[in-house]
Assembly symmetry: none
Homo-oligomer: 140 residues x 4
C-alpha cells in the first residue's frame, strides 16, 4: 500500500492487471467512495512514479486514461484535479459493460468445478470488500 499525499494505491506484482490499470482502478475507486473529493489535486506523475517505484510513463498512461474517462481534468501548469461528477456512462453503456464483464468471467470460470452458489458467494465477498456494501438480494 503506497500513500502519497491523498492518494492510496496498491500495486500488486502478482495481479493479472497491468500496472497502469491497477492505478486507474485504484484512483477511480477513491473518487467513487469520496476519499478523493472533487477538486482534489492528484500527485504529480513523477512523484507517484517514484513512490510506486515504477516507470513514469506508466503513471502518465494511467493519468491519461483517467482524463479520457472524464474523472480528472488537467489545469494547465497546475496538475490534475478530480473533476465534477457527471453521468459519464449512459445506463445502456453501463449495462453493456456489465454484460461484457459477466461474459468474460463466466468464460473464465465455466470449466472449473464449482457450484453456482460458491461462485456467487466469492463474488459477493469481493464486491463487499471493495465497496463496503449492501446485502445479497435485498437492495430494492
Amino acid at each position: 500500500m503506497t500513500d502519497i499525499g491523498n492518494v492510496t494505491v496498491q500495486i500488486v506484482t502478482g495481479d493479472a492487471r497491468p500496472i497502469f490499470k491497477q492505478i486507474v482502478d485504484g484512483i477511480r475507486m477513491e473518487i467513487a467512495t469520496g476519499s478523493l473529493p472533487v477538486g482534489t489535486k492528484l500527485p504529480s506523475v513523477r512523484g507517484l512514479a517514484m513512490q510506486l517505484m515504477i516507470n513514469a510513463n506508466t503513471v502518465a498512461k494511467a493519468y491519461g486514461e483517467l482524463t479520457a474517462q472524464g474523472l480528472v481534468e488537467s489545469r494547465q501548469g497546475l496538475g490534475l484535479f478530480v473533476s465534477e461528477p457527471r453521468q459519464l456512462l449512459s445506463e445502456e453503456e453501463q449495462k453493456k459493460r456489465l454484460s461484457t464483464a459477466v461474459d468474460a468471467f463466466v468464460n473464465e470460470v465455466a470449466y472449473l468445478e464449482f457450484e453456482t452458489g460458491d461462485v456467487l458467494r466469492e463474488i459477493e465477498g469481493a464486491l463487499i470488500k471493495l465497496k463496503g456494501a449492501s446485502g445479497t438480494g435485498d437492495n430494492e
Copy 2:
C-alpha cells in the same frame, strides 16, 4: 457465426480476446454443454482456418490449448477428438483461478453504478444458462 461440421464458432474482431482464445472458449463451451459429445471429431485445422478465414497456425494454437487442457486428444494422422472428461487441475489450483477471475471481474465492475444484488443476479443467470442450473442454495 461460422458453422463447420458439428462445430459452431464465432469470431468477433471487436472482441478483447485474441482469436485463438475465442476458438478455445467456443469449443470448450460446446463440449461443456454437450453439443460436442465425447469422441466427436473436431474440424481439421486447415478446414476450420479456411472457414474462419484465418491462418491455420491460429487454429493449431487453439487446438494445442484444448489438448493441453485435456479436453481433446489427437490421434495421429486422424485428427482431434473430444476426450473423456476428467479433472485436470488440483483443488488448490481451481480455487486460485476462481479467485483470480473474481478479482478481475470485481475490478471491472466495481465502479459501475450497480447494486451488489443486481450484479450477482446477472452472474447467476449466466452460470445457470450455461450449466443448466444447480441451485444457488441461498440468495432468493
Copy 3:
C-alpha cells in the same frame, strides 16, 4: 551447451524431442534443482533465441508452455519470472501421466536384453540424481 544469463539450455539437433520441448525440459530441470530460484527472471525471448540460433517464436512457444504449467509467470513488459511452486495437477491426472510415461518407457525397453533389476537401478539412479534422493523404501 548454451549459457545465457542464469539459464543453461542444451539444444541437440539429433534429439527426438522438438526444440521447444528441449527448452521446456531444460528450464524445468533448472527450476526443479533450484538453480533457478523463485523470482528469477528468465532470459528474454529474443535474447535466448539469438543465443540458441533459433527462431524467437520457438522460444516463445516454450515459454508459453512453462507459463501454462504454472512454473513461470509473465509480468507485462518486464519479462518472465520463476513463480512460486504449486501443485497444478490433480492427483488423478498425475497418476494418469505417470502411468502413461511408464507404459511408454516399458515398451521402449522391454525388448532389450536387460534384467528388470538393472532397469530399475538405472531409473532410480537418474531420479535420485535429479531430486537429491528420498529413499526407495525397498528394493535394496
Copy 4:
C-alpha cells in the same frame, strides 16, 4: 485384442504410440517371448490391416520397420517370416538405448510429485506384466 493366425496384437487408440509402433512392439514382443518361433509366417499386410481395421499402409510401415530391424525376412512372393535370432544390437547400443529411454522417462516424470519408490514400483509392475519375469534386486 486381435488374433489373426498366430499373431496377437493390441491396438489402443488412447495409446501415445502411433499405431504402426504398437504393431512393431507387439510383434517384437511375441518374437522375444517365443510365441512366434523362428520361421513362422506373419499374416499378410492386407489381412492384418483388415483385422485391425486400419489402413494397409500402416501395417506395411510396421512390417518395414521389423524387416529393417532384422527381426523378420521377406521371402519373395511368399510373405514375411520370423528370421534367425541374431545379436542385433551390440551391448553398447543396448546400453545407449536404455539410457536414452531412462532420460526421456525421467524428464516426463520429474515434475510430478511422486516418491522414487512409487515410480520404481510402477515400472517394475509394468515390466513384469509385459515380460512375465523375475524379481527386483535379485538377478545376479
